[in-house]
Subunit: 97 residues, 2 copies
Amino acid sequence: MYGLIGKMRSVPGKREELLALVFTATSKLPGCLSYIVARDPVDTTALWITEVWTDAASHKASLALPEVQAAITKARPLIVGFEFQVETEPVGGIGLP
Amino acid sequence: MYGLIGKMRSVPGKREELLALVFTATSKLPGCLSYIVARDPVDTTALWITEVWTDAASHKASLALPEVQAAITKARPLIVGFEFQVETEPVGGIGLP
């Protein structure tokens, strides 16, 4: 499995709009085992996204899907940057198929 | 919902042993919606744990359960420290009930 943990920062006041876009893009992605979006409780512009994919290739392929490309295009003006991003090798646990 | 993202560092050479202990302790915890354990692909002593609970109280209560206390006691000598830990407010996504 392939995992990502990242912190995305929105334009001030645009976090909820960004959150909605992230959800529309991730409803049924092939190879996606877990994709959880969370607000940062302290920083009102920050979202944490934790992902588990069957492999790195399925994650990479998802970025080329038309619905994901469309969401990225809409989201780009709302994003200030990515403050933190790590790759992981998920082993298992609760919440995986 | 209440979330945690953390990086735990093991004594060198003890990561797999620590990983096994983390799993035994988290099989059926009340209020636990997601609990995914991952290896760091670069740092051979590091584990990433991403958790989603119904609320902070259920997470806190889990730490007092006898099986969790037993695992913590066994794990303590294998842990060097926690390098990174953030609380989150999960909104939803794939991999939650």
